[in-house]
């Protein structure tokens, strides 16, 4: 019974509280980290929500949207969208693999996802260079660069998470069919980044056609 308080350095998990007589019911609870991430992502989506509302508000005020000379191009972003959306399926293959204890499979699919994410960021950077207008050109370009840039930052963080998973998976036994919360969290974050992009793509690229 004393084992529960002896090592205070450990986080509270089933293992540390299980010895107490009444704590066994905690074992049935889902892992808090996933719940924590989901809660955080709800908060994060409100951040993008603020940006979307700003965009729509300013668009509603403007006579012409986007102003002459700052039209967006469509081909590259569409390819980019296809890449990012597909990567959400690819990363799920990695998650499926680790649940079958297939570490090599997980690593393979996560590497592919990382490459797709990097390609997306590269495409985004290329688009910035070739558009012919910058952050400060007009109110539309303000919105365009801040929104896509803020999203790009999130893609970059997602990429780092995936690379972190790959780095950790080098150690044998770090991940397994029963130990893959970190892998799952990277996947959830990646899906989030993907969903945000779909809304963002609709607002900035599709809706400006009409």
């Amino acid at each position: 019974m004393q084992g529960s308080i002896a090592d205070s350095s450990q986080p509270i998990t089933e293992a540390t509280i299980a010895p107490t007589a009444i704590a066994h019911a905690h074992e049935a609870h889902p892992d808090f980290r996933v719940w924590g991430l989901l809660t955080f992502l709800i908060s994060e989506s409100l951040m993008f929500g603020g940006l979307f509302v700003t965009y729509l508000f300013l668009r509603g005020e403007a006579a012409v949207w986007p102003p002459e000379g700052t039209e967006v191009e469509l081909l590259l972003p569409t390819i980019n969208t296809i890449i990012l959306v597909s990567s959400s399926f690819v990363i799920h293959l990695g998650d499926t693999a680790i649940k079958k204890n297939d570490l090599a499979g997980m690593r393979r699919w996560y590497w592919v996802t990382a490459l797709m994410g990097a390609t997306f960021l590269g495409g985004q950077a290329y688009e910035y260079y070739t558009l012919g207008y910058g952050l400060t050109t007009n109110i539309f370009s303000n919105c365009f660069y801040v929104m896509t840039g803020f999203h790009g930052l999130h893609v970059f963080i997602g990429l780092l998470l995936i690379l972190g998973v790959l780095w950790r998976s080098r150690r044998s036994g770090h991940y397994g069919s029963h130990h893959h919360v970190g892998i799952e969290m990277a996947e959830i974050y990646w899906h989030f980044v993907d969903i945000i992009w779909i809304v963002l793509f609709s607002l900035i690229y599709i809706l400006t056609l009409f």
């Binding site: 019974m1 004393q2 529960s4 308080i5 002896a6 205070s8 986080p11 509270i12 540390t16 509280i17 107490t20 007589a21 009444i22 704590a23 019911a25 905690h26 609870h29 808090f32 980290r33 719940w35 924590g36 809660t39 955080f40 709800i42 908060s43 994060e44 409100l46 951040m47 929500g49 603020g50 940006l51 509302v53 700003t54 508000f57 300013l58 005020e61 403007a62 952050l135 400060t136 007009n138 109110i139 303000n142 919105c143 801040v146 803020f150």
Partner: protein, 558 residues
């Protein structure tokens, strides 16, 4: 007294047990520590330090306002004080002490958990606060932000650009801290209660923290975006809030108030939670309407997200918006009233003990009801258009934020100080503290309503001489208020090392935090407690826990 006579850290005698963990040393409180109790006390002490700084700014401003002319401090410095007084009191005193301080210390203890769900994240959230405060202090080297805590453009974009940018970064830091803390509370309260405690058996403070945290999670990110865009406007040449280039200033107000109105609930909901704990203990009666009080917290959380435009009735707001937001604002009065009546009914016929904590709780009730009523008058668009941007507004929000939040914080400190430190605060000094605070706050903030109704604008260093005498009344009150902090500080510092030993449960309270030692063990309990009674079963036959100690201090009046 020698230390040997003060066995506050001595663990329970338990033959055959392995050596229990040591208590924390004083220097542990200055390190990156993941214990929720250490973090709670870190929040409380840090925020109290900023409270003193913010208070000093207020005293300087009130001294300036003792005369109509600008003769004490430079008007630019006055603006910087005005901006940072509000910012510090909100973001570095009330929010971190109520949510970070009491929330972190109490929530795991109240629900029988050994720590928060994410202890490291919790420590990170705390350690974002001191740098944010330092950033605000440093901004004074660049003139200090000039545009008030609301930082409306265009003023915020054309004055003190460097200081304004530092201000924005500081707020984004405390905002991040707030989001991280909030997600921790939500997961902890939902998933980490002892198995024998259902959510509707948890203390009302936990309900209040749940509502607070949900509100913080949903509203804080929107402020972050608003401030990010402001930062871009100031430093990177964008024009989101510049009307001459297609931007819109009212857009900022929407983004700002979508957070900052809920922010007033962030500052008062935890205090409501503290009140729901304090009233039953000192009235020795079950709380009146547990479920009504619990659900009204959630109702305030929900409705509170849809009232923000009542701050913008004079911003060219269309009539349908004025109508909608007037109605939604008045609806907030209902769940708030439910709580007030619940507490009054709890006291009714109770065996009231007038401890300092209870005095502050009753003081809270009177002050907050008054502030609430002026709030209802301003929530209606016609009155608001008359009093907008006058001292009436200043009077109102000081009644709810000082008379409400700060009184509630004091009540909480007197109530839980024995649990945090193992020692009681001195009661006679506490009464002096209460008397000075109550007189001082009413004398400072009541005349402001008259000033506002007569048309004195807020946020000015100079004013029309006809307002002189009433302003001097406010200034005298402010001095009394400043003096009231002295007995409190002496009391805390002295009692922390030399106060009377409290014992585990000096107030004979029934919530779980009183079942462990004072101060609690590092992981809170040797063996997790099992729920045998509800949190407010005072005066009921089944509610006499064993090992109750005599009521502490001189706390049983007629």
């Amino acid at each position: 007294m020698t230390p040997a006579q003060l066995p506050v850290n001595t663990p329970l005698a338990d033959p055959g047990a392995s050596p229990p963990p040591q208590g924390w040393k004083w220097y542990d409180y200055f390190t990156f520590n993941v214990d929720h109790k250490v973090i709670g006390i870190q929040y409380l002490v840090t925020s109290f330090f900023f409270y003193l700084i913010g208070g000093a700014m207020a005293v300087a401003m009130r001294t300036e306002l003792a005369t109509p002319d600008s003769d004490f401090i430079d008007p630019t410095l006055y603006n910087a004080f005005m901006t940072n007084h509000g910012t510090i009191m909100i973001f570095l005193w009330i929010v971190p002490s109520a949510i970070g301080g009491f929330g972190n210390f109490l929530v795991p203890l109240m629900i029988g958990a050994r720590d928060m769900a994410f202890p490291k994240l919790n420590a990170i959230a705390f350690w974002l606060n001191p740098p944010a405060g330092a950033l605000l202090m440093a901004s004074f080297f660049f003139g200090g932000a000039q545009s008030g805590w609301t930082s409306y453009p265009p003023l915020s974009e054309i004055t003190a650009n460097v200081a304004q940018s530092m201000w924005i970064l500081a707020i984004v830091m405390v905002g991040t801290s707030s989001i991280l803390g909030a997600l921790n509370f939500v997961i902890t309260i939902l998933f980490m209660r002892i198995p024998s405690m259902r959510l509707d058996q948890s203390p009302l403070f936990c309900w209040a923290m749940l509502a607070t945290s949900l509100l913080a999670l949903l509203s804080t990110p929107v402020l972050a975006i608003g401030l990010l865009l402001l930062l871009f406007d100031i430093n990177f040449g964008t024009s989101f809030f510049k009307p001459d280039a297609g931007g819109n200033v009212v857009l900022y107000q929407h983004l700002f108030w979508f957070y900052s109105h809920p922010a007033v609930y962030l500052m008062i909901l935890p205090i409501f939670g503290i009140m729901s704990e304090v009233f039953p203990v000192y009235s020795r009666k079950p709380i009146f309407g547990y479920k009504a009080i619990a659900y009204s917290s959630m109702a305030i959380c929900l409705v509170g997200l849809f009232v923000w435009v009542h701050h913008m009735f004079t911003s060219g707001t269309p009539p349908w918006m004025r109508l909608f937001f007037t109605i939604s604002t008045l609806i907030v009065g209902i769940p708030t009233g439910v709580k007030i009546f619940g507490w009054v009914a709890t006291m009714w016929g109770g065996k009231i003990r007038y401890t300092t904590s209870m005095l502050f709780a009753i003081g809270f009730l009177t002050m907050f009801v008054f502030g609430g009523m002026t709030g209802v008058t301003m929530g209606t668009a016609p009155v608001d258009i008359h009093v907008h941007d006058t001292y009436y507004v200043v009077g109102h929000f000081h009644y709810v934020l000082f008379g409400g939040s700060v009184f509630g914080l004091y009540a909480g400190i007197y109530h839980w100080f024995p649990k945090m430190t193992g020692r009681l605060l001195n009661e006679p000094l506490g009464w002096v503290h209460f008397a000075l605070t109550f007189i001082g706050s009413n004398l400072t903030f009541l005349p402001m309503h008259q000033l506002g109704l007569q048309g004195m604008p807020r946020r000015v260093a100079m004013y029309d001489p006809q307002f002189t005498s009433v302003n001097q009344l406010c200034t005298i009150g402010a001095f009394i208020l400043a003096a009231s902090v002295i007995p409190f500080t002496i009391n805390v510092v002295w009692s922390w090392s030399r106060g009377a030993v409290a014992g585990d449960n000096p107030w004979r309270a029934l919530t779980l935090e009183w079942t462990t030692s004072s101060p609690p063990l590092i992981e809170n309990w040797e063996v997790l407690p099992v729920l045998t009674h509800g949190p407010y079963d005072y005066g009921l036959n089944n509610s006499s826990p064993e090992n109750l100690e005599p009521v502490a201090g001189s706390t049983s009046p007629s």
